[in-house]
């Protein structure tokens, strides 16, 4: 069991880092493409790929 936790921990850590960074960024950013609350839902509920989709398509680069 301990081995399984050790093996799978990196996946959860990666997902956690991506989610936290995306949420911190969305709280600071002025405006996103499309409504902010929708992006928050995407970031929280779509595993791994959600934060990345936000970083690619959601941020307004100015």
């Amino acid at each position: 069991m301990d081995l399984n936790v050790a093996l799978l921990a990196p996946i959860f850590i990666i997902q956690l880092i991506l989610m936290v960074v995306a949420l911190v960024d969305i709280s600071r950013i002025h405006a996103t493409k499309g409504p902010k609350w929708a992006w928050v839902l995407v970031i929280i509920f779509v595993n791994t790929i959600g934060p990345i989709i936000y970083f690619i398509f959601g941020r307004k680069n100015d």
Binding site: L7, I11, L18, V21, D25, T48, F55, I56
Partner: protein, 263 residues
């Protein structure tokens, strides 16, 4: 000359730091790299948990060797990794041109060669760094769960993949220099991730194509492909052509943007 290139490289570096690319791109490749060794390792448990198998049902799984796992990781990079890479890289020049940032850069006395090369160097450095950490994570899990692989072969595999990523970045930037963002992303997606798919479907009929670089790279773990050197040479010439064409289109659009601003 060198100073302005350094300034441009610094500008691109700031861009990938501020847009968090430097953080999420390596994380994505690590995720893709470790997903295959782990899913194959837990395949039996996954089937038991969700499969709803009848009593006494047994299924034999093919014996996964370390080499097949690394090839599977390479295929993950080739599909999801490349699509994401293309979507971000193919807007690097056109976005600047469209939102007006470009004009601030274009009126300065920096050469177009430097503008293009600075973007290409930073984009491919980020892509190569991401793929290297991804491969490192995949190798770590593969060696842990399936046994060792040939160290020289692994280094050759990563070097070959780096060359492929340089070509991908050059193609994306060429599209970005020539077309508007939306068109550039479409053309680049057709050229790179869909091109890889087509090559995987029909690729048995030819041996020399840059799309095969990643496969030949993964083959280094077991043997040296006879077609590798010629493919490598062909790929390098395609890379050079893409860079030259990219510089040409950047120059053309730079003049157009400048003349529009003068009016």
């Amino acid at each position: 000359m060198m100073q302005s290139l350094r300034a441009l490289l610094y500008k691109e570096w700031l861009d990938i730091v501020r847009s968090y690319k430097l953080l999420w791109m390596p994380l994505l490749f690590i995720f893709l790299g470790i997903s295959d060794p782990l899913t194959n390792y837990y395949m039996e448990d996954i089937f038991n948990a969700v499969g709803n198998m009848p009593e006494g049902f047994s299924m034999t799984f093919p014996d996964m060797t370390a080499e097949t796992i690394l090839l599977a990781s390479t295929n993950q990079f080739q599909s999801i990794g490349l699509s994401v890479l293309v979507a971000t890289t193919a807007s690097m020049i056109s976005r600047e041109r469209q939102n007006g940032q470009g004009i601030l850069l274009y009126v300065r006395p920096v050469s177009t060669v430097q503008i293009f090369l600075s973007k290409w160097i930073v984009a491919s450095a980020l892509a190569i760094f991401s793929s290297l950490v991804g491969y490192a994570a995949s190798l770590y899990y593969t060696i842990l769960l399936y046994g060792t692989v040939d160290a020289v072969g692994a280094i050759q595999m990563m070097a070959t993949y780096s060359l492929w990523l340089m070509i991908v970045c050059a193609i994306c930037l060429l599209c970005s220099a020539a077309f508007s963002t939306a068109v550039a992303i479409c053309v680049a997606i057709v050229c790179v991730p869909i091109g890889v798919m087509v090559d995987q479907l029909f690729g048995t009929y030819w041996h020399y194509s840059p799309y095969k670089l990643a496969t030949y790279g993964a083959e280094f773990l077991t043997k040296t492909s006879t077609y590798f050197m010629a493919t490598c040479m062909l790929s390098i010439s395609i890379l050079i052509v893409c860079i030259v064409l990219g510089i040409f289109f950047t120059k053309k659009n730079r003049q157009r943007v400048k003349s529009e601003a003068d009016r």
